[in-house]
Symmetry: C2
Subunit: 458 residues, 2 copies
């Protein structure tokens, strides 16, 4: 049953022409992300090209209380895109204009549909880059909305630290800017941070002003192998505690290396592995590398393999980026299910140990990878979505991981967001603060039309 009235459909069709669609295939594609969550298809899809388009769609939907769900690159892992109460999927992928780049101020403004790779291609010739890198080629609007981070966060922070301001369409259709271009400001409530991570439940992000960075003068990358995950994690913890400013420090367990070798046609040594990247100027990078080598060796690591040529580095990180797909592709018709806990770094070793115990009897193929410098790691399961026993088994393991992480001061989701997948843990993690979130949601979106059924229990 569509929640769209015939009148609303006609209005949208008249206004947007063939940018308004109710095709079954298109709606199905818009009702799911990249993971195991059961799809829920929207009643229609509208392709927006401007902030004003989005504002107009939202105003029309608000008049009838019809839900709106923003869609960027479709790479969500926590069910953010499911139209659990029907409504309109607003596809922002055509909002792919890079509006301005300032090399002098190291910032840019882009439309929400610009993807991470598109932005970095554009910046490369200017000697600039945008470091936030969740692996998937996500849209910048989607990354802002899930507070994404990824492999570079240990050095450069997450979307929380790298969004300077946003243009947002509010549930009323009103358009606001949440800030200016100053690097810091104490001028009132931090609306930017309120919308970063709000998953489209308070408004739709249509433009994003980002911090940029000069391409590092010197980049060095390396892999090293350990006999156990624990050794690798202990080395990573020591590196963080020493304050060595590594740019990337990624854990890949031997299972993941196997999957990556197969998927990306590589021949990495099949051992528990840390992958590093160092950014800076020559002497400083050399110094970092030496300190890291000493710590790695103290922790039983060996076999440093360097990847200093850009093409070698790119191959390495592309393989890492494809890790999720590599694990999933090990099994026909499988879907990925990725856990996403993040804990204080001193708890990481115990947490991963606990996780490995949970995995011993698990029949679903799984691998561990993580942004260990931040205390964030994932178990990627290649699950058969048609097999309820498997889904239940993974859900039970995921639940134990989340509960353990929260019990040691950590979080149910380091970077994927709540979506529908983590709602059940929100009160355990935040206690009565969830009521305050609900008050804010109700005040800003009284009709509850913005991506309903996400973040907060209904």
């Amino acid at each position: 049953m569509s929640v769209l009235s015939p009148a609303l459909s006609e209005t949208l069709l008249a206004r947007f022409g063939d940018r308004f669609s109710t095709s079954q295939a298109l709606r199905e594609q818009h009702g799911r992300g990249e993971s195991h969550h059961t799809p829920a298809i929207p009643d229609a899809v509208v392709f927006a090209e401007t902030t004003e388009d989005v504002a107009e769609i939202v105003r029309l939907c608000a008049d009838e209380g019809v839900p709106v769900i923003a869609f960027g690159a479709g790479t969500s892992l926590e069910g953010h895109l499911t139209a659990v109460r029907g409504g309109i999927s607003i596809d922002l992928s055509r909002m792919s204009h890079i509006i301005r780049v300032s090399a002098e101020d190291l910032d840019c403004t882009v439309q929400a549909g610009v993807t991470r790779e598109q932005l970095n291609s554009h910046l490369r010739d200017m000697g600039l880059f945008f470091p936030i890198d969740p692996g998937a080629n996500a849209s910048v609007g989607g990354m802002a909305s899930t507070r994404a981070s990824g492999t570079n966060a240990v050095r450069y922070g997450t979307m929380r630290e790298n969004v300077l301001s946003l243009t947002v369409v509010l549930p009323s259709g009103q358009v606001i800017r949440t800030g200016g271009r100053a690097r810091k400001s104490s001028a009132g409530y931090d609306l930017t941070r309120l919308f970063v991570g709000a998953e489209g439940t308070l408004g739709i992000v249509t433009e994003v002003t980002l911090k940029l960075y000069g391409m590092p003068d010197t980049i060095s990358a390396a892999l090293c192998s350990f006999d156990s995950v624990e050794q690798a994690v202990n080395a990573a913890i020591a590196i963080v505690q020493m304050g060595i400013p590594v740019a990337r420090m990624e854990l890949m367990d031997r299972g993941l290396i196997e999957a990556v070798n197969a998927y990306s046609n590589l021949s990495l040594k099949v051992k528990d592995t840390l992958a590093f990247e160092f950014h800076g100027f020559p002497a400083g990078v050399r110094e970092q590398v030496e300190m890291v080598k000493a710590i790695v060796e103290d922790n039983g690591g060996a076999d440093f393999e360097w990847a200093n040529a850009p093409e070698d580095r790119n191959r390495l990180w592309k393989a890492r980026h494809n890790a999720f797909y590599a694990v999933v592709s090990q099994r026909q018709n499988a879907k990925g299910w990725s856990s996403d806990v993040c804990v204080p770094v001193s708890e990481l070793s115990g947490c991963i140990l606990k996780t490995r115990e949970l995995l011993i009897d698990c029949r679903v193929p799984a691998a561990i990878l993580g942004h260990v410098g931040d205390g964030n790691y994932h178990v990627v399961f290649a699950v058969d979505p048609a097999n309820q026993t498997e889904l239940d088994e993974v859900a039970a393991i995921n639940k134990k991981m989340v509960q353990y992480a929260i019990s040691v001061g950590g979080t149910s989701t380091g970077e994927h967001g709540v979506g529908t997948g983590k709602i059940a843990y929100l009160r355990q993690e935040h206690g009565d603060a969830v009521d305050l979130m609900a008050i804010i949601k109700k005040a800003i979106d009284p009709l509850g039309i913005m991506n309903p059924g996400k973040i907060l229990p209904e």
Copy 2:
């Protein structure tokens, strides 16, 4: 006319004994900060010692609609502490307990009344430090509430980036925790960032969990002199654009150097000056220093004076910290008035040039200093608070500076907050986003009892 009913006074007296006071002197001290703003004294002061104390006071005040204003170290520069509608000043200075420090996780939790200097004294023996440094020996709760930053922000960020979570007493008296101890999280709305910078208008911060840093292995500091402020600023901009990770980069114009020499009994060369500090490991610091020297010399700077011994560095930065008081002390019975604009770094040179034009005919003693790596700078005026002509003159200059800063994408306040002093500029800076701020305020504090008259126009 007190807004406290006799019944409420009696209840507070019975509950808090001599921690409840209506003494005139105490109330006067609590109705002002450190700057020129006209004081407005509260009806009573209560010294809280625990979160539960604060919650109880807020609950009692909520019952009668009586305003509550949090008071930490009293170092506000924008009128945050003025009881413009009367009410209770909740003094948190006795909440000075450092609850826990984790050297392994580089974080700590402190009560809101802990001061910056107290915290760093406590951390020193553990080889740790907390970098956020607004100059004044402010309380951590106050720093969180104004989104403070200061001299180290160019490297370490502001309170926005360095608060992991907060304990907050809401206007209902309910107590919440805004997050855990994970370095990053995507679990719901960013309540931490909502209260950071909210200036006590949404709730009262009673405990703060902060990121810490290992004391740098190697620290180097230097002053260098320029023939003009413009040269100094251009050097600073080039250093930022090169991506050199300086820890501090402070501008002091020649007028400020004169004031600082007199106040702190120093003999710094009376020229426009940049002060640097470099943090890291030996080779990296050496490399940074060499690159900075080259850029400084390219921009006409000279006379590097090094301060590598800890006592020399401490003397230098103590003098810089006292800059505000140094300017004010040049004149008997003067009060300080500090402007606080922050602009994109490419606009900094033009902005300071414009400011210097405005100062040419100004009869009030003034000096320029700034955290130029962030695009943030201050003019400190030593104003006679009894002389309305002077106040008007400074207000007019400040207004022009703010309007210019906003016109180039900057902000009216980089780090001091809105308080009462910047309310008039909020809509110019944020447009209709101010309405959203008001919606949030109304939803969380429907009675309007939390520090009324600050941030938002009433």
